[in-house]
């Protein structure tokens, strides 16, 4: 019986019960004789697509690719059989530009590379340059840098948490996470005057000491922030939708994770207990009391759990820095003498002028300094030929290496799971493309 569907008269009839015992609803239609009948489901199925693969292009302008990542996916039905990532849409040549800049002039570029972790990058670059110059920074500077690193770990993980919640379909934790992120940005703004691109450090010290009353702001944050982490934990950790969309996805075994070079929460979720802060310490991290969170399943859900635990551990470290923050100078005088001396003494003024205009010169040598960034092992490799500009400034971007394992992680999963797996890597395209 040929039926024509009339949009005006489409009503819903209840002709039977479905498998759950609920009334089955079918649209009505009018047949050739003008009688209203229930539309039968179409008998001709869709053409058989078995064996035919579809290519789809996810990105570079897709909101769930967190920037300008492009994934070419070959699908069999909804299953990904092949994934080819394309990157480079944000390539700006940071490493090339660094070869034409003095060491202190490179620090603003490190803000813009992993822009969710600017203070951490500034600290990492300053540590690398100080190794190259052979400088030991002051005790107060070390504690301030640990504060900067842990605050930036918190903001980076909060952005990860918020955007991943949105990708997976939860909106409320996003707002809570971004509210707390705003508080950290207020702290950074009070400290250095900038929010996103902080340029917090200098070679041999910091751009500014913390202002009066700043530690009270920080201790207020440290005391309230764990409550918000607990709230987010309560709303999603045992949420059926969250668990269903994250468990068992993108599994990497520990051996694979090491072989693929995964670091940070990605590696630790797979059970690789490797944290640069603990295994190759810097800034006296061995004297702080903190735990390294390790997962056992290596899936998206464990990566979430590891990052949640790192938020708590970072707060713990921040509380310890507040207790031990010593008085004293922040900057060492080797690189940049104090401005007050430069305005009163001729030799100091000439020295100051030369250090600013020509730049300090490290001896010939090279250094690779890695720190634990929120994304993983972030390394700065610098080679000096004795001039005031590095011969080579190499960034070892953790999310670049973590992202290179995405074909291994998504192949065999559904298209909708690609979004969750990609979100779990915590990529920042500014760092990947540089």
């Amino acid at each position: 019986m040929a039926t024509t569907k009339r949009t005006v008269e489409v009503a819903l009839s209840t002709t039977g019960l479905d498998a759950q015992g609920r009334p089955q609803r079918r649209p009505l239609a009018v047949d050739e004789g003008g009688n209203v009948v229930t539309m039968e489901p179409p008998t001709a199925m869709e053409p058989d697509l078995e064996g035919e693969h579809m290519l789809i292009n996810l990105g570079p302008q897709h909101p769930a690719t967190h920037g300008v990542l492009r994934l070419v996916l070959e699908l069999d039905g909804e299953t990904v059989v092949r994934c080819i990532p394309h990157i480079g849409y944000l390539h700006c040549g940071f490493e090339k530009i660094g070869e034409y800049r003095q060491y202190n002039q490179i620090i603003p570029w490190t803000d813009r590379e992993d822009y969710l972790n600017s203070p951490g990058n500034n600290v990492a670059f300053a540590l690398g340059a100080e190794r190259l110059f052979g400088i030991e920074v002051t005790e107060r500077c070390k504690v301030l840098r640990v504060m900067a690193c842990e605050l930036s770990r918190i903001i980076s993980h909060l952005v990860w948490l918020g955007t991943t919640c949105i990708d997976i379909g939860a909106y409320t934790p996003f707002l809570w996470a971004f509210q707390q992120r705003e508080k950290v940005y207020e702290l950074l703004e009070a400290w250095i005057g900038a929010r996103l691109t902080t340029t917090l450090t200098r070679v041999g010290g910091m751009g500014a000491d913390i202002p009066d009353g700043w530690t009270d702001m920080l201790s207020a944050f440290v005391s309230t922030f764990p409550n918000v982490v607990d709230e987010i934990d309560r709303i999603i950790t045992r949420n059926g939708i969250w668990v269903g969309r994250t468990v068992g996805l993108g599994v990497m075994s520990p051996e694979e994770a090491i072989n693929y070079g995964l670091s940070g929460p990605m590696g630790r979720a797979s059970g690789v207990a490797f944290d640069v802060r603990r295994d190759f310490p810097y800034l006296d991290y061995e004297t702080y009391d903190f735990d390294v969170a390790v997962g056992t399943n290596g899936d998206v859900y464990d990566r979430y759990l590891v990052r949640m635990e790192e938020l708590r551990q970072s707060t713990r470290i921040l509380a310890q820095t507040l207790k031990r923050l010593p008085d004293g100078p922040v900057n060492v005088d080797d690189i940049l003498p104090p401005k007050s001396r430069a305005t009163s003494d001729m030799e100091s003024m000439i020295h100051h002028f030369k250090q600013v205009m020509e730049g300090p010169r490290p001896p010939i040598g090279e250094s690779y300094v890695a720190v634990e960034s929120p994304k993983g092992e972030k390394g700065y490799y610098m080679v000096s030929d004795g001039s005031s500009k590095p011969v080579r400034w190499r960034i070892r971007p953790p999310s670049f290496v973590n992202l290179s394992a995405i074909p291994r992680m998504v192949e065999g999963h559904l298209l909708s799971d690609v979004i969750a797996i990609n979100a779990s890597i915590d990529i920042v395209m500014g760092e990947i493309d540089r």
């Binding site: 520990p254 030929d385 394992a405 540089r434």
Partner: protein, 237 residues
Amino acid sequence: MSKYGQSFSPVVAGSALGSQAPAPVTPKSVPHRGGEPNPSAAAIGQQFAGAVKRVDVVWGETTVYIDRDRVHDVIRWLHDDASQQYDYLSDVTAVEFRDLEQPLEVVWHLRSLPYRRFLRVKVQLEKGTPLDVPSVWDIYRGADWMEREAYDMFGITFAGHPDLRRLLMWEQYSEGYPLRKDFPLRGRFSRSEQLRQALAANPEARYSQDELSIAEAFEDLPADMRRRLQRGDKVGE
């Protein structure tokens, strides 16, 4: 087995050192040259006679200069040998010096997680010789993109890499290798040359016919509207 699937037993960094080993500490007052070398450097020298050209310790980091033809064997041995276990590849990159007589260097940064060691392996490629080193992709899967980037930026060919394409630059890019010292900072062409090329470019090759037809549609407008648009009046007021 967990409730949801396979559960892995954790791999702990520093496991080969035993529980009595002291916890690692932040390096303090590191000498510029002549610190304590990494014991693996001497072990490579014993295992591969003649392959090690030089061992440098700069700022506490050990660099081993290896012969180009032996580097794959050396890294394979460092990865597999039970007394080394360099299981983690931190970085693969290259260095070109401003002094153009100096050889170009390919650098591997290796970590041994069980022994908590860090080693830098270098191969020097003399100027005028082909920039060709073996790939370590078969040892470390993580080398995939790092080697592609080094190829993209320096033009170094990694023999044995399964898919050596440009990574950050687009695949049709044919103006050279951006991180080489003979590549100018502003790009290959001067600003005036870039402007001349942009002006001489054929826009139809870049835009679709749909986009181009928007401009042609001007002719189809009523004559009075065309006059008003040409005068610069705002339409609809």
